[in-house]
């Protein structure tokens, strides 16, 4: 522990070390970070809250980090005090772009791998990103206190991947603290100090931006050149918008205002803006009075890859949903949405997400933080459709998919990396084939672990690929993917009809060869989910006018014939009151009453991937 921390703005770059930790979801990154906070004296043991850095409830529950933060910690080595900036990175593929910006703010990375599990596909993907950014990598095996730990085996694997010796891998336990002090020493010794031009016009890269109810947007930056000072006017180089710098400082681990930030330093800015869109990840901050000529490279607008309709179960909650989305948007620059009307579900929104995890997080936050009951439609990707007459359209909602006269449909594809024990090669190949994948290559990471690379339609990943992969590999496989353009495909829209009426919420775009299976599955599922009505209800699946599957819900013949005497009356009336309330929630498809639960069940269970099962 260092006796006195260095003052921000007055810290020479050679005493600064900026690093991040690259790790898979449950490989112990947060625990290690907590231990570092404690050992550097930034947080005392009593104030220690497990996983201090992950602020949101959802993050704590899922054990994942959505929003990165940067903590400044003092560390003394051989009599010299250094300032270590730990930049926390999101670990999930949906947030690859955010990861890349976090990496760009660092000179080095701690590659943290569970000594009982080995490296996972997402970690591998982030490791590649880090190596592309020329980061110095410190390989670390965590959880060496576990009985199942195999540090020798996985040290070999890491050494093979990054080109070092197995004995260069540090061994730590975030839980017990073993090996954490040597790791901090190594960070100082191995990582290069940041380099920049202190006299040049200020340039700082935004690597995160978070909305805070009390402070407005808090922007996290890494200063590359020059310096930023309180009360200056700053400029966002992508939009040319200028703001007054109300507060500038470092996180340690609570925000501490400083006299400014100099070359190589990492900290936060508050300008009073209320929307994270005005402070975008990847943008360059400069001094408005003395602006830099060129922005730092790498800025890019977030692009939604997956769309889903979100509807309130109770139609009168629509305004609340709109307000909730408006609020979430303040904190989520990647969230895009527009109002949409469904004949089946009423008023709602079509929402674009970075990926499936992003979708689940948004949905969960809407339900939890805003107390909304929601139905979400099957997630889908964006299709580019060219008509025979050359007209082009982009379809983000299956119900808008045109009938007939289609010249070509293009769907997004991804480059997927799957890591798994080699015994599952056959099972994975079979699955990927079913999912219309094509093998790009395969490598052995070690004797019994293999990396397989595939091109796969994103729609298949969005559907149920991940669940299938996990179940076919007994949970051992890990998956990472990134967008890789698009391809033409033979796709059709399957509609589901209740009593002859199309239920827009159930329409899906699927490959021609799978249309029949989808139709049969959905029809039989709905047959079980929709309560019997006073009349017979046919359920059909159709491609255009062609019926491909059919089921029947028989008419109800009897409801309740129970006895109704003195003691039954209160109970019966209470039941009636409940049924009355239930009836009001019913969604009507023509004359068919469908309980919202049927929609939820039909649109979720085994259709659509949920990454909750990831652990």
């Amino acid at each position: 522990m260092a006796r006195t921390a260095l003052q921000p703005h007055a810290t020479p770059p050679e005493l600064i070390r900026n690093f991040c930790i690259i790790a898979h979801i449950d490989h112990g990154k947060s625990t290690l970070a907590d231990r570092m906070l404690q050992m550097t004296g930034v947080v005392d043991a009593r104030a220690m809250r497990a996983q201090y850095l992950d602020r949101m409830d959802i993050e704590r529950e899922r054990g994942i980090t959505i929003k990165s933060q940067a903590v400044r910690m003092p560390w003394e080595l051989d009599g010299t005090t250094y300032a270590l900036n730990m930049i926390d990175t999101p670990g999930h593929v949906d947030f690859t772009y955010e990861v890349s910006r976090s990496l760009a703010a660092c000179e080095g990375a701690v590659l943290l791998v569970d000594a009982a599990q080995g490296i996972e596909a997402q970690t591998l993907a982030n490791l590649y990103l880090a190596m592309e950014n020329d980061l110095t990598i410190i390989p670390v095996l965590n959880k060496i206190d576990l009985p199942a730990a195999q540090p020798e085996k996985f040290a070999e694997e890491l050494a093979g991947l990054i080109g070092c010796e197995p004995e260069d891998c540090l061994q730590v336990s975030g839980k017990t603290g073993v090996g954490v002090e040597p790791l901090l020493d190594q960070i100082v010794q191995q990582l290069p100090a940041p380099v920049g031009d202190a006299d040049a016009p200020a340039r700082a890269m935004i690597f995160d931006s978070v909305y805070d109810t009390y402070r407005g947007v808090v922007t996290y930056v890494r200063v590359i050149d020059g310096n930023l000072n309180p009360r200056e006017r700053i400029q966002m180089m992508s939009t040319r918008a200028t703001h007054e710098l109300l507060e500038i400082g470092v996180i340690s681990p609570e925000p501490v205002p400083s006299k400014g930030l100099g070359v190589g330093e990492v900290g936060y800015l508050i300008t009073g803006v209320k929307d994270v869109r005005q402070s975008r990840v990847g943008d360059t901050v400069t001094n408005a009075a003395k602006p830099a000529k060129d922005a730092l490279g790498g800025y890019r607008d977030p692009k939604p890859m997956v769309f889903s309709g979100l509807y309130p179960i109770d139609g009168s909650d629509y305004p609340d949903l709109r307000d909730a989305l408006d609020k979430l948007k303040l904190n989520d620059a990647a969230l895009v949405y527009e109002p949409e009307t469904s004949a089946a579900l009423g008023f709602g929104f079509r929402i674009g997400f970075l990926g499936m995890l992003h979708l689940e997080i948004v949905r969960e936050r809407l339900e939890r933080e805003f107390d909304l009951d929601l139905i979400s439609t099957l997630p889908n990707v964006v299709y580019d459709v060219t008509m025979d007459d050359g007209k082009k359209l982009s379809v983000t909602n299956p119900s808008e998919f045109p009938y007939g006269k289609i010249a070509e449909v293009r769907e997004p594809v991804v480059r997927a990396t799957i890591l798994a024990p080699s015994e599952f090669i056959g099972a994975i190949m079979e699955l990927c084939q079913q999912k219309r994948g094509s093998l790009r290559g395969m490598d052995y990471l070690s004797e019994d672990r293999v990396e397989m690379r595939y091109t796969l339609p994103l729609a298949e990943i969005v559907f149920d690929f991940f669940d299938q992969l996990k179940s076919r590999t007994r949970g051992y496989a890990s998956l990472d993917y990134e967008p890789d353009g698009d391809q033409a495909a033979d796709l059709v829209k399957v509609d589901i009809l209740l009593q002859g009426e199309t239920v827009d919420a159930f329409s899906a775009i699927v490959h021609k060869d799978k249309a029949y299976a989808y139709g049969v599955m959905m029809a039989s599922k709905l047959k079980d989910l929709i309560p019997r009505q006073q009349f017979e209800v046919p359920i059909q699946a159709a491609i255009g006018a062609r019926i491909i599957a059919r089921e029947n819900i028989r008419a109800i013949r009897k409801d309740v014939l129970a006895k109704c005497y003195g003691g039954d009356i209160s109970r019966k009336r209470k039941l009636l009151e409940k049924q009355k309330a239930g009836k009001k929630r019913m969604k009507n498809i023509g004359t068919v009453e469908v309980p919202p639960e049927a929609f939820i069940a039909a649109l979720s269970s085994d259709a659509g991937t949920t990454e909750k099962s990831k652990k």
Partner: protein
């Protein structure tokens, strides 16, 4: 009655009722229900508030002292209600009332007489298990003022009785009904249909057996698998199949057909009688917003829009009364909306029907559609201005109620 008590407000310790409720005592029928919470064994399908002797233990209530506790509650009722009309109907249910000695049943009826007086034409019914009545006990009941016996027959088919865990011999039902008639009592039999494993043929057999006994009244209930019963556990574990709606609907139609052919007319969804005079007036009171005091553990009462219910356990019940407190566990004071819902809910189940004039605007608007869907009787609505269920409507009574209440 089901054993789970509803949620409600606390009842005052002295059982006091609001004046507005008491003011209704003289303008509608007044009944007394007596709940005897004992059985020799608990049947697998039953979730009523009843206890076997081994379940009860030594302290508190017992078969021998139960009548005393009941009379104590009757006296409390007299104090709470004050000036009442004489009682029109008494119904002793359970449990198995005939677990008590006939003298005890009569002693409870004497308690009713002593506290409220009994109308000259009062209907006094007890439920009876075919195994626990004798010609002598039935004569004793008739002498003491009972007018009617309702025999728990359930089925005439041995394998069905076994699934229900009814222990009586089918032959005893015939003996009990004959002995009741011999004693000058009206006789009714209760049947259950839809028991797992019961075929439509089995059900016909039971109906024919019941008809052959020549009772003047038959009740037929669809088997409901109640939560917490042994049957529910068996269904959950897949040991017996769950009763099936379509099967029960078919059996209801068979019941209505056979009973109709034998001269019985339905007068409530689950009840048939040979003549209007043979209907159970006590139950009709429940359906016509009548007042009644329910005596016994877990018993429900209703006076002028206030419903309340007693503590469930016989020991707690006896303890409350011994200390001079009301055994009421909770109560609810119905709002106008709730009373309307109940009126529709109960009224429409009767052959006499629900006067269309009692319906609100949205309910009256639903009538034409219900007639068109074959659920309400057209001529009854047109000529007599009442909502009467058709056969199909009786099977879908809950749907009809919902639509009459204007829920779409």
């Amino acid at each position: 009655m089901p054993s789970t008590l509803p949620e409600g407000d606390p009842a005052p310790p002295d059982g006091r009722l609001p004046d507005a409720a008491l003011a209704t005592l003289h303008d509608r029928p007044f009944g007394v229900y007596l709940h005897v919470p004992f059985c020799s064994v608990r049947c697998g399908y039953c979730d009523f508030n009843t206890y076997t002797l081994t379940e009860l233990g030594a302290d508190g209530a017992s078969v021998a002292t139960f009548a005393d506790a009941a009379v104590r509650e009757l006296r409390l009722a007299g104090t709470v209600l004050g000036d009442t009309p004489p009682v029109d109907t008494v119904f002793v249910g359970g449990g198995t009332p005939t677990m008590l000695a006939a003298d005890d049943l009569v002693r409870m009826l004497d308690g009713v007489r002593e506290v409220f007086g009994l109308a000259p034409d009062a209907e006094v019914t007890t439920e009876a298990n075919p195994d626990s009545v004798t010609p002598e006990s039935l004569h004793r009941l008739a002498e003491g003022g009972f007018t009617r016996v309702s025999v728990g027959m359930q089925s005439a088919v041995p394998h069905v009785l076994r699934v229900l865990e009814r222990t009586h011999q089918p032959a005893n039902v015939a003996r009990a009904v004959a002995a009741a008639k011999d004693a000058g009592l009206q006789a009714s039999v209760d049947l259950i249909y839809g028991t797992p494993g019961e075929s439509v043929g089995d059900w016909r057999t039971s109906l024919e057996a019941a008809i052959a006994l020549e009772p003047d009244h038959v009740s037929a209930y669809a088997l409901v698998v109640e939560e917490g019963t042994k049957l529910a556990a068996q269904v959950r574990r897949g040991q017996v199949p769950a009763p099936e709606d379509d099967d029960e609907a078919a059996k209801y139609e068979v019941a209505d057909e056979l009973l109709g052919a034998a001269g019985f007319e339905w007068y409530e969804v689950s009840n048939w009688a040979t003549t209007p005079a043979a209907r159970c007036r006590h139950n009709e009171g429940y359906w016509a917003d009548g007042n009644w005091w329910g005596v016994g553990p877990g018993a429900h009462s209703h006076v002028g829009g206030v419903r309340w219910w007693n503590v469930k356990h016989p020991n707690a019940y006896a303890g409350r009364l011994a200390s001079g407190a009301s055994p009421a566990a909770g109560r609810e004071t119905l709002t106008g909306e709730q009373r309307y819902d109940e009126r529709v809910l109960l009224g429409v189940r009767l052959v006499d029907g629900l006067p269309l004039g009692d319906l609100r605007e949205d309910g009256r608007r639903a009538v034409a559609g219900l007639i068109a869907d074959g659920l309400l009787d057209g001529p009854a609505a047109l000529r007599r201005s009442v909502a009467v269920l058709t056969l199909r409507g009786r099977l879908l009574a809950d749907t009809v109620v919902m639509r009459l209440l204007g829920v779409r």
